[in-house]
């Protein structure tokens, strides 16, 4: 037994010896930055390094900004070194492909009304990896401009400026293609994640909460996917605008409150799907303007102020098999005409019956209540919500609709919640 294990070790050792010459450590050199060593500045190491080298930055505080990286490099923070920009400008500025930045604490970028100072700026690059960094008190967090591919993963971005105008975005993507943004946590920024003129983005598993404006601000970006993200307590919720073929699924939109706050705002969205999301306690869960051919199915909409606010400019959108549970108002619209389709949803406010026991209510459900129209006219009447009198009013209107849109109706309301 013992002999066997010794033999095993020897074998392993010889294998190791054979492979060492080929390993990257010898092919590319390794540079160490530390407070007490010969190299005390990261910029110095970057300048010294050859393309493909690895720079290990040891624990300590490095007061540096505008660290320019113009060659493929791997920068690794050992035991979370802190890079303090002292409020001067952009801290890491990456202008090369194949750059990895990992394990850093970065704080205090510059702030400006004219320049977008960021903790990590990446321009015209590809195959980059920004991972496991903690950004604190920054203007912009991670700023991607005209990049292709690349991964931004498991970073934490936080700032404290409560004004929308003077705060920057957490992860900012401008004119970028196919970036993967996943598992990041962003709070206290202007927009948690900002995407403009992007293509094929994958935004998965991020948490964006308590940002001053949008948790996710997504514009002019076709063919994107965002899934399993949590957007919570953002000033205005999530806005997805002027895009096509966006896949939004398994996300959680919750606690987005305010006069113009939305779980999800859709403007000029076409041919997209919104599936398996949960909308919980938002002022307006889904707001849709000029959007068409959007499939909205299997979502849970619970305890929102208005579950759906759909403007008459929206057409051919499908709401199917969603759970509408105890929202203050289920659907609001601004026109008696309706060009959208509601079918087989579960409405907790449904009072009908199912005599043939097929799971579908025998009486159609009209999700626009008389009371919701009353509150449009006299908003003060909101205080009467859930009162017996209002219940009677709504029931009367449902039996004989006069004022509510006649065609906005779910002909096949489900009797039980859709799992």
């Amino acid at each position: 037994m013992k002999n066997l294990s010794i033999l095993h070790y020897a074998l392993k050792l010889s294998l190791l010896l054979i492979f060492i010459p080929a390993s990257p450590q010898t092919l590319f050199s390794q540079i160490i930055v530390s407070e007490t060593g010969s190299i005390t500045f990261i910029q110095e190491a970057v300048d010294l390094a050859a393309p493909g080298d690895t720079i290990e930055v040891e624990s300590g505080t490095y007061k540096e900004w505008n660290i320019e990286i113009r060659k493929p490099l791997t920068l690794i923070g050992i035991d979370r070194p802190l890079v303090d920009g002292e409020g001067e400008g952009t801290i890491f500025s990456i202008h090369a492909d194949d750059v990895t930045l990992k394990g850093f604490d970065i704080r205090r970028t510059g702030r400006s009304y004219v320049r977008d100072y960021a903790a990590i700026l990446i321009v015209e690059s590809t195959r980059f990896l920004i991972e496991d960094n903690r950004l604190d008190d920054v203007f912009f967090g991670i700023y991607l401009a005209e990049t292709t591919g690349g991964v931004v993963r498991s970073n934490r971005i936080e700032a404290y400026d409560l004004r929308e105008a003077s705060s920057g975005n957490g992860i900012h993507l401008w004119n970028s293609k196919e970036a993967t943004i996943e598992g990041n946590f962003i709070t206290g920024m202007r927009d948690g994640i900002y995407v403009e003129f992007g293509e094929g983005m994958k935004i998965n598993g991020n948490t964006s909460e308590a940002n001053n404006r949008y948790g996710l601000h997504y514009m002019f970006s076709d063919g994107g996917i965002y899934q399993r993200n949590t957007f919570r307590k953002n000033g205005a919720g999530v806005a997805v605008m002027y895009s096509e073929n966006v896949d939004m699924s398994h996300n959680l939109f919750e606690h987005n409150w305010g006069t113009s706050s939305y779980g999800l705002l859709l403007k000029d969205i076409r041919n997209s799907t919104i599936e398996y999301n949960r909308f919980y306690r938002n002022t307006i869960a889904i707001y849709s303007e000029s959007s068409s051919n959007v499939m909205i199915r299997r979502n849970d909409l619970e305890l929102n102020g208005w579950a759906v606010n759909i403007k008459s400019s929206s057409a051919r959108n499908h709401f199917e098999e969603n759970n509408f549970i105890e929202n203050s108002f289920d659907v609001r619209t601004d026109s008696p005409r309706n060009n959208n389709h509601f079918e087989r949803n579960y409405w907790s406010a449904y009072e009908g019956y199912d005599l043939d026991r097929d799971g579908i209510g025998d009486v159609p459900y009209r999700p626009v209540t008389l009371f919701s129209m009353v509150t449009e006219r006299s908003p003060e009447s909101l205080i009467l919500m859930r009162s017996m009198f209002v219940r009677i009013l709504n029931t009367a209107e449902r039996i004989a609709p006069v004022l509510t849109p006649k065609t906005l109706v779910d002909e096949k309301p489900k009797m039980t919640r859709i799992q």
Partner: protein
């Protein structure tokens, strides 16, 4: 104090033996259980329960209070000629009959919530609905007491007033408020509407339910007064304070009537 507890204990024993209160608890138990079985999630059940609670707890409590006075006239008179302070007797009788009713509602509702795990997940919401039901029970049982004492000789009148007061507070009041909002729509009405709603205990309880479940809609409203009232602790605190006043007022009124009444 000794007498107070003695009277309360005696009322509890007789009420429990009457099974009436147990039946009342069972109704809520079955209601909550079936809502949880067939309705699904927690918020749905709690809101349905609170609707039923807001509608029926005041009616049942008031009828219960007045019925007690009418059924126990001779017994009350027998107690009154014992060496017992009238105030002590009043509190003994009132607390003796209202607390089991309150407990019946709370326990009947809480048990299904507990074994379906809602009590743990939605602890704050559940407690709110349970507490409001309890407070409404006390308020309206004491209103029933007052009506029974005021119309001591005229039962038809007493029951008539009970139904009218209930109908007014539970349904008509809100209709009148809505009419006022419509008629004076061009004036700033927020403050007025809040004040008026605070004068009706059922509305007060409803507003507290609303603050818990519909806050997201209320925050969508642009009026500054509403936003300040509902968006901060001020709203909940004022409503809770007013509800406490409402709790105290009929009890105090009943005590006053009871102390001065000729039996």
């Amino acid at each position: 104090m000794k007498n107070l507890i003695h009277i309360i204990k005696n009322e509890w024993r007789t009420l429990l033996r009457g099974k009436w209160v147990i039946g009342y608890a069972l109704i809520f138990l079955v209601l909550a259980e079936s809502l949880l079985r067939f309705g699904g999630g927690g918020s749905e059940t709690l809101l349905s329960l609170s609707s039923v609670m807001l509608l029926f707890v005041p009616l049942v409590s008031m009828i219960y209070g007045i019925l007690y006075i009418y059924q126990s006239r001779e017994f009350i008179e027998l107690l009154l000629i014992q060496p017992v302070n009238r105030g002590v007797l009043y509190w003994g009788l009132f607390l003796g009959i209202s607390t089991p009713l309150m407990a019946a509602f709370m326990v009947g509702t809480a048990l299904p919530l507990a074994w379906h795990g809602i009590l743990g997940v939605g602890a704050a919401e559940s407690m709110l609905v349970l507490l409001l039901g309890g407070v409404l029970t006390l308020i309206f049982a004491s209103l029933g007491f007052v009506l029974g004492l005021l119309f001591y000789e005229d039962r038809i009148k007493g029951f008539g007033f009970t139904i009218v007061i209930w109908l007014f507070l539970a349904v008509l009041y809100d209709g009148i408020v809505l009419m006022l909002i419509f008629s004076f729509g061009h004036y700033p009405l927020e403050r007025f509407v809040i004040v008026v709603s605070m004068l009706n205990p059922i509305d007060l309880a409803r507003i507290m339910v609303m603050l818990e479940f519909d806050i997201s809609a209320l925050m969508g409203y642009t009026g500054a007064v509403f936003r300040r009232f509902f968006g901060t602790a001020a709203g909940s605190l004022t409503a809770a304070g007013m509800l406490t006043l409402w709790l105290a007022a009929p009890m105090w009124w009943g005590l006053r009537v009871f102390k001065r009444k000729d039996f």
